[in-house]
Symmetry: C2
């Protein structure tokens, strides 16, 4: 006999869904099991009801006896070490009670429990009556780590509570704004769950706007805002807006999910030193898609996986909302459909080779790789492109001495940059890449001429440029680039060369944008460095930046990096932005 184990690293956590079955595969335990698998968790399932269902709706329902639901639950929990549980459609009061009874009778502590209060299907089918909803509120809410209603479900729950508490209850108004959502989330959280994620997909037809988010944050006590998958204004990503050439990108419609957590001081009505409720907003581009069947199931399943892995709640919500967002974004057609049909999400997008770092290019986020690079060291990127050197240059107050020191060193740097582009050609295999490298080299030859002509304005000739000793900052940067080129493949060299290309492009666009503001600090007219500034926000240079961005995005699509390669690329990008900042530090210090 050959006893056998292959080392596969840490075994995946086991998770459980308690929900209905959707024969069409888009929602229910099917969506859950697909999500569990794609997120590499071991999935188990307790089926509460069967539906005969497809993308057009629910055709028939078969109930499962509550005792058999309980039996399934015991079979799973008696044998398998479940790290997190989610509930979806629970069919009726007796099933809800059976689930609550079994979960509270466990010998060991209950693992994290995500309760998705499924009441109505995407197709409009009622899946839980108000009696069962009442039982759910009473028996499962207090056990839950996280409740995940959409705005309609939140309203139904709050309405039911209002009816119970007063005999003549008025209507609970619909939740149509972020401020409404913050209040509703707090009221729901007060009903027992440790936290509530109120999903904003249906909050406002066509989504909300960035101004709405900023207004809500200004008005309410919001702890943090997560903007993932967004090319944000004021984040020095002008080059991406420029490259996208899509005016709509400046005011993208958004979806906002609201997370409300119980704070450290849950007693008392008033806030003391701690906060009673902690709010986090999760903001993503709004997707106009009918492939939304099973969205809620998928999100709560993804949350369950993240909690099973021990992710903190905010991180779990971030991962799960992005997984679900990309599930919609990459959906493929399923079902013959009619005008009213709702197709499922793509649960397998993480398996697509095109998905880099869990992100796909979309019209609202067309350059996810470059955006990710910039995000990966945002602070250093801003220190680089908004450097004091750049600010003084923009004002026209930069001393001639500093500018000349910079330009002389940049003259040396260009030689490295030209050689490195030659090396890219030598390391490439496609004629398009040879051509791109050659065009860049020619652009550098041109840039050098510009440097020479600049310098001649200030009575510095080529001989003086040539004999100026190279500064350590210049050598560090230039030699680092050549070393990346020696050590790695064409891709890493392309990344190394991008910090300079993109950064100067951003400086050009940023100064140009700032100059257009009323009473701007940037002075173009009469600025002694006007020619220099204009050469970087000019069309030729910006065309090269766009081509560079597109080359980088094409690179990750043609040749998707593994996690290790991605870390290497981020490290190279980080080094080069630091070296760029160092270059301008040198100019300011005259060292």
């Amino acid at each position: 006999m050959y006893p056998f184990t292959a080392d596969i690293g840490n075994p995946p956590p086991a998770v459980l869904t308690i929900a209905g079955s959707d024969s069409g595969g888009g929602a229910g335990i099917q969506a859950d099991l697909k999500t569990f698998t794609a997120l590499e968790c071991y999935g188990t399932s307790v089926i509460t009801a069967l539906t005969a269902q497809n993308t057009t709706g629910v055709q028939a329902l078969h109930h499962v006896p509550p005792s058999f639901v309980e039996q399934q639950l015991r079979s799973v929990l008696d044998d398998i070490d479940i790290a997190a549980i989610k509930t979806g459609m629970l069919a009726n009061s007796d099933v809800v009670r059976a689930v609550a009874r079994t979960l509270t009778s466990l010998a060991r502590p209950l693992p994290p429990l995500v309760v998705d209060p499924v009441c109505v299907s995407t197709s409009g089918h009622t899946l839980l009556d108000s009696e069962a909803l009442g039982t759910l509120i009473e028996e499962l809410f207090p056990l839950s780590t996280l409740l995940t209603p959409n705005t309609a479900e939140a309203r139904m729950i709050l309405q039911l509570i209002k009816q119970k508490r007063k005999s003549h209850a008025g209507e609970v108004p619909p939740i149509t704004s972020i401020v409404d959502a913050l209040r509703a989330a707090r009221e729901l959280c007060a009903l027992g769950p440790c936290a509530v994620l109120l999903k904003g997909g249906h909050m406002s037809p066509g989504g909300v706007r960035l101004a709405d988010v900023k207004a809500a944050v200004a008005a309410e006590d919001v702890h943090a805002v997560d903007y993932d998958g967004l090319v944000l204004p004021d984040a020095n990503m002008e080059i991406l807006f420029y490259a996208a050439q899509d005016p709509a990108m400046h005011d993208v419609p958004l979806v906002v999910d609201v997370l409300c957590e119980r704070g450290v001081q849950p007693e008392g009505e008033d806030e003391g030193e701690g906060k009673k409720w902690i709010f986090t907003l999760f903001v993503r581009p709004y997707l106009d898609s009918s492939s939304t069947h099973g969205t809620g199931c998928t999100l709560s399943a993804a949350l369950t996986c993240a909690l099973a892995r021990g992710e903190p709640l905010v991180e779990a919500v971030k991962l799960a909302t992005m997984y679900t967002h990309h599930g919609i974004a990459t959906a493929f057609p399923v079902g013959n459909g009619n005008g009213n049909s709702h197709g499922p999400l793509n649960h397998m997008h993480q398996l697509l080779p095109r998905v880099l770092n869990k992100r796909v290019p979309t019209p609202r986020d067309p350059f996810p790789f470059v955006r990710m690079l910039i995000h990966s060291n945002m602070d250093m990127w801003k220190q680089y492109v908004q450097h004091e050197f750049v600010r003084q240059l923009g004002k026209g107050t930069l001393s001639r001495e500093r500018f000349l020191h910079f330009i002389k060193q940049d003259y040396h740097y260009l030689e490295y940059y030209a050689r490195a582009n030659g090396l890219i050609a030598a390391k490439s295999s496609e004629y398009a890449d040879f051509a791109a490298a050659a065009q860049t080299v020619l652009a550098i030859v041109q840039e050098r001429k510009m440097h020479v002509s600049f310098c001649s304005q200030w009575d510095i000739n080529i001989a003086e440029l040539e004999r100026t000793p190279e500064s350590p900052a210049c050598t560090a940067y230039g030699a680092y680039i050549m070393d990346v080129g020696l050590q790695g493949d064409a891709a890493s060299l392309l990344i190394a060369l991008a910090a300079c290309l993109l950064g100067y492009g951003e400086v050009g666009l940023w100064l140009s944008r700032e100059a257009k503001r009323p009473q701007s600090w940037v002075k173009i007219e009469g600025n002694p460095y006007r020619k220099w500034i204009e050469s970087y926000f000019g069309g030729d240079y910006q065309d090269a930046v766009v081509a560079g961005i597109e080359r980088l995005e094409a690179l990750v699509i043609r040749n998707p990096p593994n996690a290790k390669t991605l870390e290497l690329w981020k490290a190279i990008w980080d080094r080069c932005t630091r070296l760029e900042k160092g270059f301008w530090d040198m100019a300011m210090d005259l060292s």
Copy 2:
């Protein structure tokens, strides 16, 4: 509004499972949906029965009315374009009939149908009585593209048929050999399915041996044998046996699945010009594992995915059996278990970064990457290591002129090889890699000395070696290696250098093994090239080969290649084995 589509390439095919639910997640529709997802198909499901089940067995069963099974089936098939279907546990005769009736009433042609005749669970629970089995044979077998019984199910089916045909039927003997399986598969195929895959996992306790496979192939009319995941004797993989240092690897226990397809001439009992039955054997290492719960479900689900993608049947079986094999090989513990528990497979192994080209290192296949490289151009590999030059060298009949021509060129080649190893160091980032490269360089310095001392035996001094002009074959190979080193990263250069390192190791071991045979064609005693031969099967050189194999395997684990990189590596390996062969062609031609 922002209408939205992200280009994700071809949409995945939709597939359907008609089977029972396993709450524990290891078998039934759960195993099917997990497999569908891992293999990137869109999964739908019709549930025929619910089980309360875990790794220790089935605790309770809930039947679903046949009419509701039919309703689910219609909901799926009316709306979704299903590319392939599988059936698993069908519970009872009425359900079988409902399924058969619905499938035959489709307006469009039935897609490929895989019927897994599930009768008994891995834990021993009876899942289909003999009446229902009879209905299955009668109504579903004729519709099926492929039937996938294990040996116990095959015997039950044949027994039932025997009982039906004769009043006083004897016992059908158990299927305990490959020859038994070939006969049983043919008898099953005659019952109506287009093809039968008879699974051999339980054929013989502890598996069968390679000699059994060869005997069966010699005795019966087997069309083809697929040996995947095996390091085979007589395939010039001596270096892998040597590196594994595991005597058991020479006679690994095996599992054999038998595929029987209807041939081109189905009429008449006797074979005419065509064959009535076409047999293919699928041979894999036997795994001694209790993580086999859901194996049959997983295999038939994987087959369904492959058929949905339009794979030919033999290719589909190959893909599905390897997927299932690796599911067992990479299983992780699920369930608290007792001595009798059966854990599930790992359905997610394709998502593991460690899995290269769908393969994981296992004790029976410890070097899957190097094995895959050798397999990828097996023919050229054999032309290289069993070259006429090597054969004459082994016999001692090689002309001195040819040997000297070779050794002079190899002297030049070693200079490239040393430089290329220096370049590997320059392209590495870890001290272990610097050290490995430096040790190789030192070994080359030593090898050069050996060349010099050899040549001095034949009155050729260093000066003559140095002034010998480089042949085009030598320049082609040496410059190609340097070019790979210039163009790519350390990994591609390591691959480029491997063909020489591993090939000479294989030549040494092959000649050494052949020399040990009685009346061998290889002559060691008195062979004028004895010293040369012994230097390559000696411990020092073989240690370097083992280190090289381990470095290559470590490379793909540390830095898993994407599909494009893998193709590049195979192309480099192919070029280098060709250039190696070319080097010996040159020696034989004296060109």
